[in-house]
Symmetry: D2
Subunit: 355 residues, 4 copies
């Protein structure tokens, strides 16, 4: 039997934090032991938290007091989950890593440090070896591992086996994303009722940048590979859905490629988490659907087991000999953040980086 790991959730009251709290309350060997916040410090978690997810606040965390983000108070903590806002996250995470904590971050601040893994456990598990370099170079006892932008994961997870197995040329992506992806308070309601909000050039660009790096690593490379050979584009939007990022991709190839083969590859995709039977690994990281009106955000974002850990892919269609169309749906705060973070922790434990 595994030793129980005590976890601190920084930003525990945030939209990602609540999924950590919910999932860890049921985890076999990682327990929520410390809930950190900012404005909600000193308040009972169950009273202060906006529980924008399924069910009710679990009894495991309901009566815990929200505490400050202070490593001195976390002596007995084994692992830090850090879904902190951009800007706030960076220095805090460094501080923890320096002190010896393993830090799993969902924030963008360290995602492009050359010695920090940008980890999707099924896709680029070999990049965890960057941790050794990171610790040495920075003379840290702990380390930082990051998970990618939710939007980038929604594209990168299905594109990875495609890129691995076929001569992919590019992907033209259009996203329709949910409100929870922007945190709370996030998007003003008057921007979204009877409207579509384009997320703009910067958001498009960071999506592409992350997908590019991840695809570059799929073929066992490490760091940020050049990937000049693949042409990616993204046009990103938010609408009034609560959870779930929906992404339409037209994928082009350098040679004739049959959609039935692509579907097969997606269906059969498995990674180390499945081989290792990690507790948070869904049986199938990618679930394909055949109905021509699926996936639908409301009905399919909770797909997989644990719920929300599988990406749903549908609308697969041969556009022409060298182009296929595919739609993917990711639960942004689960697979795209907290669930991905917990799965990363499980992988790191399995590989001996967390003890």
């Amino acid at each position: 039997m595994k030793r129980i790991l005590k976890a601190a959730i920084l930003g525990a009251t945030g939209l990602v934090g609540i999924e950590y709290a919910r999932m860890l309350s049921e985890h076999p060997y990682i327990k929520p032991a410390y809930l950190a916040g900012k404005n909600s410090v000193g308040r009972p978690y169950g009273e202060i938290v906006r529980w924008q997810t399924v069910g009710q606040v679990p009894k495991e965390v309901r009566d815990m007091e929200v505490k400050p983000t202070d490593p001195k108070l976390m002596d007995d903590v084994d692992i830090i989950f850090s879904p902190l806002p951009q800007g706030a996250a960076g220095p805090v995470e460094e501080q923890f890593a320096k002190l010896g904590f393993p830090v799993i971050s969902n924030s963008p601040d360290h995602r492009f440090d050359p010695d920090v893994p940008l980890l999707i456990p099924e896709v680029n598990p070999h990049t965890v070896s960057l941790i050794d370099e990171q610790k040495k170079r920075r003379d840290w006892k702990g380390f930082i591992v990051t998970t990618p932008l939710c939007t980038a994961q929604g594209a990168a997870i299905p594109l990875s086996p495609i890129y691995m197995n076929f001569k992919m040329n590019g992907a033209y992506i259009t996203t329709i994303q949910s409100l929870s992806g922007a945190g709370y308070p996030g998007i003003p309601s008057l921007d979204i009722v009877d409207n579509i909000l384009p997320l703009g050039d910067a958001y498009d660009a960071k999506t592409i940048k992350e997908v590019t790096r991840i695809l570059g690593e799929v073929k066992r490379n490490i760091g940020e590979p050049s990937m000049q050979e693949v042409s990616l584009a993204a046009t990103t939007h938010r609408i009034a859905t609560i959870h779930g990022h929906y992404e339409v991709s037209y994928v082009t190839f350098k040679e004739d490629t049959e959609v039935s083969k692509v579907r097969e590859v997606l269906d059969n995709f498995r990674g180390e988490p499945q081989d290792l039977k990690l507790p948070t690994a869904p049986e199938k990281p990618i679930i394909t659907m055949n109905e021509d009106n699926r996936p639908q955000v409301y009905f399919d974002r909770w797909a997989g087991n644990p719920p929300g850990m599988s990406i749903v892919v549908g609308r697969l269609k041969q556009i022409n000999n060298r182009t296929i169309r595919m739609v993917s749906l990711i639960h942004n705060t689960i697979r795209g953040a907290a669930g991905g973070g917990i799965l990363s922790a499980e992988l790191l434990k399995e590989k001996g980086y967390i003890e």
Copy 2:
């Protein structure tokens, strides 16, 4: 001064019908003279109509009684606008055309008859000459002209000058469409709150079929050209916006093509309606925007003058040497239906098909 033309609006209480009623109430020489319906027959228009548009029911039509769709009652009518539902429209339109009425239809029933124009006045005005063939072949005194599917127009209008001026290879389109495009009652509310509704293969296919025909006609061809050389794809959706279809297109070319040139061509696009100064012709059929968060459905669907008659194009971006990205927004019930119908009538009058 032009003779006043008396118009009948079939389906006058529908989502397209109300835009006809609104726009014709202010038209310089076409007057709403007969409002036809089905379930609302016998009721005062202003009382029965669901006015799902701006302003209040105009006084010109408020007290008119809704009448049956019966040509015998329309002796003094000069022109028939027919936004009737698919299936119901076809036979009714034939009946009117046979009796000598000019019929402008927004319904799909006759769109692919080989002798019926599928008309966008700025794009394929020369196809009105099909009317001569139609009248001869069918031995009709009147005729039918159709306007394309709103979704197809949203893509075809900006793609037309692009196809005309550059060696276009294909377009990969993703649409995010409004509820009013489905008529009333249309989409159940439980399909759309916190959800995205994929419209499915059939809707994707008809969009492509219509865009293909229109592009084929851009270069002065008539009928349904083959267009094998261009690869089009569409993935269509509905969300909880009320009016306005938003479409993201990745357009590919056979040779290097600069986005700045494409923008110029879009900006300068004008057609016969502009040359002829038709009253419902917007100064610019296409308005381009530069802000990276525009167009937005709520703010830009009413663009142009008359409002809703211009397509707004934005997010123009060079993806790679041979690919550009473009977003277009069309007011589906105005430019995509009633406004397009009225502009068609104006063109037909100018060309002598309506007297």
Copy 3:
């Protein structure tokens, strides 16, 4: 240990039917054994059902085939849950009751038969004795028990202990109800985006009629008591929330009444289901909240255990000496339908009406 009861769910694919399927899949002694439908007959439940609730279709029912609503196929069924549409329900339910089945109906068709209980187990459990009269009078081996309109329950459950304990004079109710209350397809989306839909005189009236009868029975009466002494009014609306009916009540009294006393009575309210520790009985049928921005539909509709079985009451306030204000929130498809039905079955079993 209790004998396992086999249940048929009529209308199993409907919005209430899915909650029966979900809750019975986890029930200690009532099992979903037969799923009946109409248009979906012959299809695997997990494929055809619109799962407009939490989680995914339970494995207990996922692969069951939807069957016709035919008693001949239900030989081994012990209990019928009938969330059928108004009109369709009535004759079907009679047919089953005549054949000896216990029928628990959520439909309105038999709610006002003088020998049919309109049952809220915590409120008027003594009315189950009407069953004896019903069976005798109709010479049936089985019987029908109904649950009240969801909207009526949202008001009647908290008003019952108030009426029981204080000299209540009347209640002026305004409801803001969810889409799922209208079934599927239900409300057209264009009626509800950027709008409030008044439900009209008939809906207001039936709400009042049911609340009146239930309050009349609170004081141990049976049948439809006159209740002339209490003045009730309701103004009912639907908005674009998915589940949860929210109701604001101004309650007036014949003598000075302190809100603190009212709160106490609500907090302490328990009924037979709690005494009998029925499996679907929430610990507290009414949960009161103190925050001045609660209850909120999104966060509080799942209150209680089983989730959705408690009514949440908040915004309690003394308006004047003889008037208090109260807000109640009911999960319409759970406490207001399927959950109420299952709790009723448990009570009937405990009282020997189901064996």
Copy 4:
């Protein structure tokens, strides 16, 4: 012919500011001459403004530069409209009034100064005489007049003729308000999708406080009358409608009161603005509807002429001998703010307070 008055709109880019800009662009004798803002200073109005209303930015204001809120730059301005945020408004308005400007404020800051009118031109026009006292007491050349909270107006306008004509005892109000009432950015989207947001005790209380004062003044009193004899209560909410506050009131009386008489009084209600034929006065300040599903926010908020200046009242019903039910709908940014402000200016001009 009237002299043209030059108006400055403070907060011109806000949700109320845009209605001032729109309505004044068409006003016969008040012209928008100065558009003031804060963050948008220096930008062309048409570029920076979020035009969350009908139509497009009028050409009269489109190219005007947004300027600072600085009286020194407004030498030639005759009248100040001040829809500034609470807190920011107070000192700015005093500064302008001291310098001799007539200030019409929509903000709450001075609403309860004892010498400042809280003006609804049809309801308490006599309170403008407070201006004389105000100028004298404060030794100001200019003055401040305020318009009430939009929510308070939605109740107070129909209650005024009722209170004037019948022995009213109290009113129990439940509001369902729109997003625009909270300004921009206002309500976070995650608070409102699939939710109802209670506005809380403070909002309820200020609504009642303002309605109470206005009703107190209806019978020709001035200042803040005691009104102990009338019992008012409000329960206020926001939902995802864009414009339009919908309010359900149960009105109680000290003696038997017939709803038909109440309807008559509401229908016939006129005030000084109608007698004086002020340009922004709607023909009927209150429009009553009979259909049992009206008013509806989407369809009726633009009622009256100018659009949005009439309050729509419907669902009138006799609850018992001494209680009637009534629903009112007010366009919060028009009648409830900018339109009310312009109508106030017109009245003040007519009465010689503005020259």
